[in-house]
Symmetry: D2
Subunit: 331 residues, 4 copies
């Protein structure tokens, strides 16, 4: 039985807590959150105890910590967990600063603990099926990737202010998908160009951020990736990608709440995509945490490592710079 402490009793914390508590051989022992009411509620729901950071790190019965607290606490908690010898599951991102993220990676390595970063898209049933088919060679050598990644609405300005900007906050997932799909053979980004606009809310411009972006990446092997993003797709949460290979193409579509088609005088209408990330990626979050504990058990490599977290952040930094200067970035 592995005892686990979780940091963070917010929305994403609840997802991870429920998923890990349902796993055989895993026991949620402690919940930590500055909001003590939230911590109590989660602890009660799962038969755990409220605790605090110091106590968790000091308790030798705790093997694993799950970090689902606010982004600005991630690097500190990772580093301290590493020092304390705990294995780590941490929600993305590692940090909003590349140097701090690299320091975390170094701390993890030095301590010899296991650390997985939560890029849940790699566990989505549709996306991971595409990856499996690439591995089986079903479309030959991958050549181009088109990612459509759109949120249903912009978050409040308060959130955006602390988000690190759209590239670090939202596209970091897409940069990870790029690396996962196009760079599995050791290929890497060589050239990146980003541009953006504010089309939905002037408050976003006032913060120096963008709500609509277009990124292109060319790899060393000449593969091409285009990413289009918006904070506000009126029809909902749109999460798709298409990868062209030398012998075919894989197209990953959205998931829908039902398979009902309504035929009437206006046409033939299917469901909108699943509402937002908690719905679309509910299976992914479940599979992700199961993978984490299976790898801990078996010693197999994680599908997403802290190095992946650093690499995605480096691309986000490059895109942020390119979008501001209007010039491409060479790696």
């Amino acid at each position: 039985m592995k005892n686990v402490a979780i940091f963070g009793a917010g929305r994403i914390g609840h997802i991870h807590a429920s998923n890990l508590a349902a796993l055989p051989g895993v026991k949620l022992k402690y919940v930590c959150d500055p909001n003590s009411a939230a911590a109590s509620e989660m602890a009660q729901k799962h038969g755990a105890q409220v605790s605090d950071i110091e106590a968790v790190f000091a308790d030798p019965s705790i093997e694993v910590v799950a970090i689902a607290s606010s982004t600005d606490t991630h690097s500190d908690l990772i580093s301290r967990a590493a020092v304390a010898g705990k294995h780590i599951f941490c929600e993305k991102p590692v940090d909003l600063s590349v140097p701090r993220a690299r320091a975390c990676a170094a701390a993890v390595k030095a301590a010899g603990v296991a650390c997985m970063i939560g890029f849940q898209r790699r566990f989505d049933p549709t996306f991971s099926e595409a990856r499996a088919r690439l591995d089986r060679g079903e479309i030959g050598n991958p050549e181009m990737l088109v990612i459509t990644s759109r949120d249903p609405g912009a978050p409040p300005a308060e959130y955006i202010k602390l988000s690190g900007g759209i590239f670090r906050d939202m596209l970091i997932h897409d940069f990870d998908v790029f690396r996962w799909i196009l760079c599995a053979d050791g290929d890497e980004a060589q050239w990146l160009s980003a541009t953006g606009s504010v089309l939905t809310d002037p408050a976003i411009a006032a913060l120096g951020d963008f709500d609509s972006t277009a990124v292109t990446i060319r790899t060393r092997k000449g593969r091409l990736c285009q990413i289009n993003t918006t904070r506000r797709a009126a029809y909902g949460y749109d999460q798709r990608f298409e990868v062209l290979g030398s012998t075919g193409m894989l197209q990953c579509g959205n998931h829908t709440p039902s398979e009902v088609k309504q035929w009437d005088a206006t046409g033939v209408r299917g469901d909108k995509p699943e509402n937002f990330f908690l719905q679309r990626y509910s299976a992914a979050y479940r599979l992700e945490i199961a993978h984490f504990f299976e790898c801990l058990q078996s010693g197999a490599a994680f599908r997403t490592t802290i190095a992946d977290g650093v690499a995605a952040l480096e691309l986000a930094d490059a895109a942020t710079e390119s979008c501001k200067t209007g010039q491409p970035v060479d790696f």
Copy 2:
């Protein structure tokens, strides 16, 4: 906390046990199965105890029994549970004999216990969305229903021998869907015609059964329903229906494991439907048992009652007769 005993530790028993054990306020206390190894394994998995039928009915701490044992035990267990004052969730069918099923219904009524029959299709996210849209009048008055219900392969002759025939074993679900979709306003079947063939395996003919059937029902209000069924669809488990209304049509499609489309020299290829009923209806089974306990708690009416179980069986009997005689049945 509601204490529950389950009868049956086979495939479908495991589904119900896992789903009910995960519900808040529900405790799986006892597992009963003639196969004691299976009973032990299930009991251990859920922290329950192995028990036997008499002990369960005698234990006043047990409020609810879930019946997932073999079909030929259902009516006896329902009747005894009713006498013992236990609330009942029973997998379909109530029984393979209409008189015995009616006797069960009478016993349940006399005892005043709650009894729900597991027609899980009514809880499928796609099918129940269609029902909800009918309720909201989105396609007007329902007029025609076309049900496609195909298994991926015939079961062994041993199974078929005890199954009651294809109409009682397989189409009973479709007869329930017919009543649920077309008869919600009190309408009823008035005329039924069935025909069938053996196209896949002569052993099925030797047992006096069919593997391919076509049923038509006309209701008192003149609504029409056509059901086509086969035991062997080479492409998998096909579960669809279309309901035509006065102002539109609702088309319920299959569910698929992923939303990947593969484009290559052979065409554009999506997934086959979910493999079989355990996959296709996994959400339905979960929602069904949750509905059962919610209704027990709130006192609301079940979506599927023992009367529904009897009515579907009556239609199955009529279809069996019609298919054998070649003549329609009038109700």
Copy 3:
């Protein structure tokens, strides 16, 4: 150059006239119609002359007649054309009476002229692709056929009065599709059951007709066919069929005016099917008439013969009787 006379300058006459006039080696020479204004307009459009029936049959320069006049004139024109030694293209049906249709077939045979009946669905690009795949064995041996055939709205009572009833007027196409798809190896209908209702317009009931029907046919080899039809599908003209084979299934969908999908707050919406038969079958009508002249030229067999016209009418008669008596018909 083949000189052709056309009988009938109405809606369907215009389709055939335009299509045959565009063929190389074919010259539309005469147009005949009791409505002289309509005849003149069509003649002018195609550089043809207005003529009358006697003159056409007497003119030795005419090799071919195309019959697109009202149904009640078909058998007379076929018989007279046969006697006059003209090859015949005739719109379906041969006649509304089976004996008269058989007499026509005999007259055609006796005269040794070529005669093709216009069941245009056999030339639809989607339906004929399905037939081609059956021929190539792509789904093995055909076992079940489900036909959905729905008009967008009922015609006026005046039309229905003269139509011969829904089975002879509308389902005759579906009976031909049944024979084309399931009986290509010489199989034949053995048992047929039909039922129907009036759900859209009481005037149809007053005429002794139906607007909603459900037909089931079982063949000698045990194949099953279900046909569902309505005069009024609120979402438009719905023309689909699915054929299940021993190793797969072919599903023939509707055609749409465009491939635009609109994603908005209400869902993801595609086009309704093509508006009505003139739109859906525009390619079919074009390919049908080209096939007719190609076969005349090459001596190859027509895809649809007068025998097919008689056979479909026999099924329509059987369905009419079954629907009125409530009893199946055995062949």
Copy 4:
């Protein structure tokens, strides 16, 4: 009756000749082609005469010329036709040189003749339906455009050598679509970045060209467009675009030869897209030439002008430069 001379009796010449010859009020009088056998064959097919350039321009009975000859002859023929007072339909591109294209536009303007450039995609039923919905405001203000434009295979090196490069040869259509969809309100490209690779055939690299490209354009109003292109999509000719608006999205899919879906053990498979541009755009070519003559008749403005031809070429030039230097172009 408008008399027309056509220049060019090759593949695209045949398309235009057949389409214009079928129009009421239009007479194909002359065919000119350096390949006299090809000219004769086309002339014979349409009852026209073989002629030469000088004779055509000198013949006062000729009102209209259709230019479907090789690209390097377009600008000369346009200029001479303008001087001769003939109205002009010219296949894209105007020329491979922007200055020469501008000179053509000036010559046309000076002569006061009508001149339409054949960007047939604007007449595709799917693409023009999307444009119509934008005009009706069905998705609000357009914000982002993603164009997928892929050929089924690279042409021979001989062709590529004379093609002007992939941006002028292939993407010129996509640049026109960009302007048509995103710039209808007078908006214009402000910033363009292109990159490319050679992934299919080293011979293309040897010619200094690319076979895989990714272009991004930002407009003055901040709209974003991404275009992905390849010379070789193993699954065929892929022609799609998606336009995101403030209240929805329009997704334009490929056209397919049939609507058959084959369900078997490998999945559910639909047709590949129409084979290549002659098939996909057959309706577009027909509608385009009809539009040209309708506008000539009515005096209405053409949907595509010589100015559009120049503007698309300017974007192709900018993309060629950007792709070679790795730097964006500002307008």
